[in-house]
Amino acid sequence: MTDAQVEALILAFLRSLAEEESDRIASDNSKEEIQE
């Protein structure tokens, strides 16, 4: 893999991780709301 490909993969990884974390936090919050 070239350095550019590695950088593109890492960037894509971080972006999707950020989206998943955001979804996870939203889903945890909604669970708490249900429990309350």
Partner: protein, 580 residues
């Protein structure tokens, strides 16, 4: 079989329950391949749990919070500045290629991570050089097309992961060792268990752990526990739960103490239990009663029986507690939640199975308890690991003799189709389908399926004919890039026709939900077509259509068997009494 360590990296970034399912699959695999040296990549909050499994070689965590600023997550520029940090962190995983890289996270981010780590063999989601999504192995494609889209299938996720890993190891490292009848789950699962000092729970008693949470009120929990304590003097109860459940626990114990002299038979560990104590106490209990997946999987790994209370009318059996004798109960109507009496009757029937030996049915058990009216609102399923000659694997079977729902029938058939595709094995025709499980609603749907599946089969055969022609025509070309205008047009027309047939499969699947799995899998297979040249791509396309065809043919065999079973049986003449 090679004795050299097989270096294997497993990526599991999902929930704690997913991590436990992965650990059970890994333990089963390690028993068969002792040379497997497993490194586990997990979320930081699961590090402590993963490290309890001391047969795991090393635990690596993904420092999510160091890379992501919670207030500014989707900002590309703020993310870009962490690229060097991630590259630095990755060096511990990229020093030398892994023998096997297993991505069991089945999520987008993990697919990029998998592509960044060098490995000789790879399972699960990953990315191609152009960042396009790829799921190269059969079981990952099945997870993508069936499991994640909630298309009914009855293979437990632990069995699926174990089979996927064992198949890969068998291909790359030869046949496994003979593990005999060594149990996978049990007290030895987490080797860090406390072995000295006084036992946490008094020995010689039947301890039932109740993992309380606010889905039931204190009165409801107390009602269930009272039924258990009053009717079964040998039982003791340990309350488990998070710190925020301490008030609920105090209210439950107040009601129980007010109702009788049960004080000495209740141990309240709510909010006081760290992971070691959870493991220690659960491993000493006979039962865990819970609403939640994580404690259910933890108890099942420790060999403690689980009664899991489902809230959906169609709970997911493929992610329920793994092992023999677990109970999963669910309401038949989500607007009518389960009552404590339903949980008590399910628990008492399962707990005393050694005594009644199923001489009376669960329905009769409800009648004896005076709860017969509950049967309309309750579904109870018990887990059993099938014998090896029946294909092995865990199955949850209903305690009620009710007609199979359409979803249940489809789950059985799709499970068999997956075995045909990826194990090359199928159960005896019609296994697990009995005459009394066939009702009028199912029959009506299957008659419609007879027609729709027959059309789908014809579409498949036409696609196979076109793909074969395309492959043969492409193989005759001297170059896949330079060709005559006529050849190009001919190949283009063939490709368009195959695409139209794929759209037809979509339309058939939209009209008959039984066929949805074929449509989604076809999309996944088409997305994952490999090869540089048109001849290679058309060869893989042909293989994809042939796989779908084999699946439809098997579905039709089982459909016809089910329809045959429903026909009236001719009564033998000898049974008739001659008229005087």
């Amino acid at each position: 079989m090679s004795r050299k360590p097989i270096r294997c990296l497993v990526i599991q970034l999902r929930s704690g329950a997913d991590l436990l399912e992965s650990l059970i699959a890994l333990k089963a695999t390690k028993q068969l391949y002792p040379a497997l040296e497993i490194s586990l990549l997990c979320r930081p909050e699961h590090e402590e749990l993963a490290k309890q499994a001391q047969w795991i070689h090393s635990v690596i965590t993904l420092p999510v919070s160091e890379w992501l600023n919670p207030g500014n997550k989707s900002d590309v520029e703020s993310i870009r500045k962490f690229v060097p940090n991630v590259a630095g962190w990755l060096t511990q995983l990229t020093a030398s290629p892994w023998d096997l890289l297993v991505n069991w996270s089945f999520c987008d981010s993990s697919s990029f991570l998998s592509a960044l780590i060098p490995a000789k063999n790879r399972l699960g989601y990953t990315r191609r050089a152009d960042l396009d999504f790829s799921s190269g192995d059969g079981w990952s494609q099945f997870v993508h097309a069936f499991v994640h889209l909630d298309i009914p299938q009855n293979i437990h996720l632990v069995d699926l992961l174990t089979t996927q890993l064992l198949t890969a190891l068998q291909l790359s490292h030869g046949d496994p060792a003979d593990a005999g009848n060594q149990a996978v789950t049990g007290r030895g699962f987490f080797t860090a268990l406390r072995t000295s000092g006084d036992p946490l729970l008094e020995p010689g008693k039947t301890w039932v752990a109740a993992q309380i949470n606010p889905l039931w009120s204190a009165k409801q929990w107390a009602r269930f526990l009272l039924l258990t304590l009053e009717r079964h003097p040998e039982t003791h109860v340990v309350l488990l739960g998070l710190r925020q459940e301490q008030e609920l626990a105090r209210e439950i114990t107040r009601i129980l103490n007010h109702s009788g002299t049960h004080e000495k038979r209740i141990l309240n560990l709510t909010g006081e239990t760290d992971l070691d104590l959870w493991i220690d106490s659960l491993s000493q209990c006979t039962w865990l009663v819970t609403f939640q997946a994580l404690p259910a999987q933890l108890a099942s790994a420790l060999g403690t029986r689980v009664l899991q209370i489902g809230q959906s009318h169609a709970p997911n059996y493929s992610t329920a507690a793994y092992g023999n004798g677990h109970v999963l109960i669910s309401p038949t109507d989500v607007s009518v939640p389960l009552v404590p009496e339903a949980v008590y009757s399910s628990w008492s029937y399962a707990h005393f199975e050694w005594s009644h030996r199923r001489n009376w049915s669960f329905q009769e058990h409800l009648e004896r308890l005076g709860y017969q009216r509950l049967s309309d609102w309750l579904d109870v399923r018990v887990s059993k690991i099938r014998p090896a000659d029946e294909g092995g694997g865990l199955i949850y079977t209903s305690e009620f003799k009710r007609p199979l729902s359409n979803r249940d029938w489809l789950a059985i058939i799709n499970g068999q189709i997956a075995r045909l595709w990826y194990c090359g094995w199928t159960a005896k025709e019609g296994a697990e389908i009995t005459r009394d499980g066939i009702g009028p609603a199912l029959l009506q749907d299957l008659r419609a399926l007879d027609e729709s599946s027959s059309v789908l089969l014809r579409v498949c055969k036409e696609a196979i004919r076109c793909s074969t022609e395309l492959q043969q025509r492409a193989a005759q070309l001297k170059s896949s890039k330079v060709m005559s205008v006529e050849d190009r047009k001919e190949l283009h027309d063939m490709g368009v026709k195959i695409l139209e047939l794929q759209k037809l499969v979509d339309r058939l699947a939209s009209a008959d939900a039984h066929l949805a799995g074929f449509s989604t899998l076809l999309k996944v297979l088409m997305h994952n077509l490999g090869g540089e040249h048109i001849a290679e791509v058309s060869k893989e396309s042909l293989a994809a259509w042939q796989q779908i065809e084999r699946g439809i043919e098997l579905m039709r065999v089982w459909m016809k068997h089910t329809l045959r079973l429903s026909r009236p049986i001719a009564v033998e003449a000898a049974v008739f009494q001659p008229l005087p």
